[in-house]
Structures are given as structure tokens and as C-alpha cells.
């Protein structure tokens, strides 16, 4: 008997003490998975975009606005210069193919390495409730770009800001069907309070997260 069989046997034996699972209960469980109803959640009566911005700041991200995708490279160049960061970044292909000429920033579309200092990604969508970026992994959207560099810059089209995580799942199902290898929800820079409970930004992931909202 495998460990799995013996665990299931113990669960079935324990259930004998409870009312047996009948067809109605089984249908209820299967129905719950099929319908995935939204559970109890806090009131969400705020306007989406201002809420997203405010929560980003609360989670120690910085936020910038640009009118169109074409303006993203210059806005990022300004941020890098103002923060005295290197003008060199690793990025998702969708970002690297923007017109970076004349911005002074060298952008490479490749897998991130341990010594990259700036990583630029897009976002699948963003969650207003908590100021969260949702990134899906794929060959053209690798997960490490938002993890290894000390600075993570994310481009968020304003129309992709949704209310909460439940709305994010609905869009993932309708647009992608199934989940990718990794779904990463990122809310501000990495942090720890492991030593004496004192909060420090920049534990294992990025020290800073900069969000560029494209308002077009």
C-alpha cells in the first residue's frame, strides 16, 4: 500500500464517524470548483486607478505616469538617472523592442542573471485593492527578471488594473485558459523583519519597485 493509499484509507475511516459523503455533497464540492464563487471580501467602493496608486505607495513602490507606450523608455531613463542607477537593464522582449534610441539606456532581452541591477517587465494585470502587480511566466515573460535585479521596473497599462485578486483569476481563465508555470503577485520591494522585528527593504528580491502606469 502506498503512502497515498494509506492516507486516503485513514480519511475514509475517519469519515465513517461522520455522515457519509452522499451525491449531494459530492455535487456541491464539484460545483464549487466549477463555479468558483467569490467568498466574503472587504468593501471595494473606491475608484480603481487612484486606489492602485495609493496602495503601491503604501507598499513602498514608486509610481510614474506616461500617456503612451512610446513614452515609456524616456520615463524609465529619467527614473534611472534621478535614482542614480546604471543605465543598463535586462527586460522582457515586449519592453526591449520599444524605441530606446537616444535614451542612453541599454536594454537586453534575455534571462536575468544574479548580477543584473535593473530588470524591466510588463504586467499581465494589476490589482487595485493591494497595489499588486500580477506577472505570468512564459518564454517571453521570464519570472527571474522581476526577482534577481536590485531594481524592478514594471509597465502597467491603466486598462489592465482590476479590482481584486478574484477579478484577476476571472481574466486569467478567460484570456489564458490555464495557469502558467508561475503566477507571481508582487506588491512592492522585498522586505524582512527577521532581525529584532525591524523592517528592512530588500531581503532576497528587489530593493525597489517602480511602476510606470500607461494612461492611454
Amino acid at each position: 500500500m502506498s503512502a497515498r493509499d494509506s492516507i486516503f484509507a485513514r480519511i475514509r475511516a475517519a469519515r465513517a464517524a461522520l455522515p457519509a459523503m452522499d451525491e449531494t455533497e459530492r455535487a456541491a464540492i464539484e460545483g464549487r470548483i466549477a463555479l468558483h464563487p467569490i467568498g466574503t471580501r472587504p468593501a471595494m467602493d473606491w475608484p480603481l486607478v487612484p486606489r492602485f496608486r495609493e496602495q503601491c505607495v503604501r507598499m513602498s513602490s514608486t509610481v510614474d505616469d506616461v500617456a503612451s507606450m512610446a513614452e515609456v523608455p524616456r520615463a524609465i531613463a529619467r527614473f534611472l538617472a534621478a535614482t542614480k542607477l546604471p543605465m543598463r537593464a535586462v527586460a522582457w522582449p515586449e519592453i526591449a523592442q520599444l524605441d530606446w534610441n537616444g535614451t542612453g539606456v541599454t536594454v537586453e532581452a534575455r534571462a536575468a542573471r544574479g548580477d543584473d541591477l535593473v530588470g524591466i517587465t510588463g504586467t499581465f494585470l494589476a490589482v487595485a485593492e493591494t497595489g499588486t502587480l500580477m506577472l505570468l511566466s512564459s518564454p517571453s515573460t521570464p519570472a527571474a527578471t522581476s526577482l534577481l535585479p536590485e531594481t524592478h521596473i514594471a509597465v502597467v497599462p491603466q486598462g489592465r488594473i482590476v479590482k481584486a485578486m478574484e477579478e484577476a483569476w476571472a481574466l486569467t481563465r478567460s484570456e489564458r485558459g490555464e495557469l502558467p508555470r508561475a503566477v507571481n503577485f508582487v506588491s512592492g520591494p522585498s522586505r524582512t523583519a527577521d532581525i529584532e522585528g525591524q523592517l528592512q527593504l530588500g531581503a532576497h528580491g528587489p530593493y525597489r519597485v517602480h511602476v510606470v502606469v500607461v494612461t492611454e
Binding site: 480519511i11 507598499m59 544574479g114 499588486t132 518564454p139 527571474a144 526577482l147 508561475a182 503566477v183 524582512t192
Partner: protein, 327 residues
């Protein structure tokens, strides 16, 4: 914790019992770097040393906050990013978690996540919430080639269908220990097993046997702070009281305690004898207390090794009550 050869003392803040000086000493000893005591610098040093491990490790081992039945996904909730490192960089990812962590849908996980982060650290969400669904896909530039999920029973099914079943609802937020006056005084290591605090006092006897964790259900004042703050409403004081009852039913309490309680019951049922015995005990107790009216040593009892017992006032409550009523 690994450098010190110790085990975590809290389920979400494993090194809460270490001061910055303790950490500084450990880093000097193991990293051979100049001593620093600034918490920011210490965190940077930990980042630098651990990153090498993350980048070179062949296998990453993680826990799992939740498992999602709908999609077969593993959910990890972290602030540091260690969960993401462990599940993104090494060639093999192994996740180990309990059978009770399975949730039906992604929506259910979102709902429970709100409870978890608020109760654990007071955050509306933790910095990273990651869902891993299988290994690297064709064309992916990162992610493990193999992903294994080990789902552990280790005593959990023993709670199913019993009066202890409610403890299986635990989402491991740590709120019960953060609010426990006993945990705050004795620290997590004193509980002697994986889960400290009130939830540990309930789970440990159930997992390793009541007779092997005899003190745990009694390491509580039953003040119900834990019951009030528990986000999934586990009636922790009730469960600890039930475990105490089981200890008595199974005759697991020490004979001195059983004999003492029997004697006390006999005396307490006889008011005349009770009054006499307490009068004598109050006077003897007073005479044993020194000039400072403290008893410094109780024979055959370790209780006074670390502290003193206040001596009785010399008169019983009933005597004092009668006197004051007269005056």
C-alpha cells in the same frame, strides 16, 4: 537558525529570539566578515551569502501555504522573496506541506489569503504571493525542470472526525502565539516541537501522543486571547481543556497530583475540616516565610528554583471576612 544550529522559535518569525548582537556574532563566526551591528547591513550580508546558495543550488525545498485543487497549484506567501528564489532558480523544486492545506478554488485561496496576511503581519497582502503549477514549460527561460509535491499526513488524519478536528483549520498565521501571555514569557523553543504557542499545545499532543507532551495543554491560562484573535475561529482554549480532560481520563497525570486532588476534594467537601486545615496551613505558611514574607524553597518542587512564592497572610479568607464584617 541554521548557522546557530537551532530550530525556529516562531512559525512566521523564526529568529525572533535573537538580538542583533547574536546575529552579528554568528555572521562573524561563520562568514568571517568584519562585525557589523546595523540591521540593514546584516540583512545585506545575509542577502549576499544566501544569493550564492540560491544561484548554485541543485534543489530548492519549500513549504506550501495552500494547495489549490482546481488547478493543482502550490501557493507560497513570503515577504523576503526566498520562496520565489527557491522555486525559480534550482533545477528541482520539492514542496512539502500538510494534507489540510488543500483549498477548492483560486477564489477560496484569495479569501483565505486576506485572513492570513492580516493576522500574521498586519499586511493587506505579503510582498510576494506565488502560484507554482508544475515544472518549466517548453521554451521557458527559468523555472525548475522537475517539481515534486510531498503531502504530509503525520498524524493529521488522526484528528478527522474527532473533537479535535477544528484544529485542522489552522492557516499558520501565528496570531495565537503573538497574543499568548505564556508564549511571550517562555518563548517558542520551550514547546519542544514544530508548532509553538496555543496551536502547538493542541497539535503536538495530537501528533506525537498525549503522553509525550504532558505539559503542553497545561501551558495555558485559558485566557482565550488566542481564541479571540484566531482568524479561522479555532476554539483553542476549549481544545486545550479537552486535552487536559483526556489526560485525567487516561490516568496520565502524576500520582502526587492525583492524590493531592483527591485529598483536597475530601477536605473541601467537609466545611469544618476545611476551615481547620486552611487555618493551620495559613499559619504554617506564614511561619515558613522569612522576614520578607516570601517562601524561598518548597521541598520536592522545582517551582522555587527560579522565583519565590509569597507566604500566606497567616489568616484564612474566611477569618478575614468574618473580622471585617464585625468591624
Amino acid at each position: 537558525m541554521q548557522l546557530a544550529g537551532e530550530k525556529p522559535s516562531h512559525i512566521i518569525a523564526p529568529a525572533i529570539h535573537k538580538s542583533r548582537d547574536d546575529v552579528a556574532d554568528l555572521f562573524v563566526q561563520h562568514h568571517k566578515t568584519p562585525r557589523k551591528t546595523d540591521i540593514g547591513e546584516l540583512t545585506m550580508e545575509a542577502r549576499k551569502f544566501l544569493r550564492e546558495h540560491f544561484l548554485s543550488g541543485e534543489m530548492g525545498i519549500s513549504g506550501g501555504n495552500f494547495l489549490i485543487a482546481e488547478t493543482g497549484s502550490l501557493m507560497l506567501v513570503t515577504n523576503e522573496g526566498n520562496g520565489r528564489m527557491t522555486t525559480t532558480l534550482p533545477r528541482v523544486h520539492v514542496a512539502i506541506t500538510g494534507i489540510e492545506k488543500v483549498l477548492p478554488t483560486l477564489e477560496d485561496a484569495s479569501c483565505i489569503l486576506r485572513l492570513l496576511t492580516r493576522s500574521a503581519t498586519g499586511q493587506s497582502i505579503s510582498n510576494y504571493v506565488t502560484l507554482n503549477t508544475g515544472p518549466k514549460r517548453p521554451g521557458d527561460l527559468d523555472g525548475p525542470e522537475e517539481m515534486h509535491v510531498i503531502i504530509v499526513d503525520a498524524g493529521r488524519t488522526g484528528l478527522l472526525g474527532t473533537d479535535m478536528q477544528e484544529a485542522l483549520r489552522c492557516i499558520r498565521c501565528g496570531a495565537c502565539m503573538n497574543h499568548c501571555p505564556v508564549y511571550q514569557n517562555i518563548g517558542g523553543h520551550a514547546y519542544g516541537w514544530v508548532y509553538p504557542g496555543p496551536i502547538g499545545s493542541v497539535l503536538t499532543p495530537n501528533y506525537i501522543g498525549l503522553e509525550n507532551a504532558i505539559d503542553l495543554p497545561n501551558a495555558a491560562t485559558l485566557c482565550n486571547q488566542c481564541g479571540v484573535v484566531c482568524p479561522v475561529k479555532i476554539p483553542l482554549p476549549d481544545l486545550m481543556r479537552k486535552l487536559r480532560e483526556k489526560q485525567v481520563d487516561r490516568g496520565l497525570r502524576p500520582w502526587q497530583e492525583r492524590l493531592g486532588l483527591k485529598l483536597w476534594a475530601w477536605v473541601a467537601k467537609r466545611p469544618g475540616i476545611y476551615a481547620l486545615v486552611t487555618r493551620i496551613a495559613a499559619r504554617v505558611g506564614r511561619s515558613v516565610g522569612g522576614a520578607d514574607r516570601m517562601i524561598h524553597r518548597l521541598p520536592g518542587n522545582g517551582w522555587t528554583e527560579g522565583r519565590d512564592l509569597p507566604a500566606p497572610a497567616g489568616k484564612t479568607f474566611r477569618e478575614l471576612y468574618a473580622e471585617r464584617k464585625r468591624s
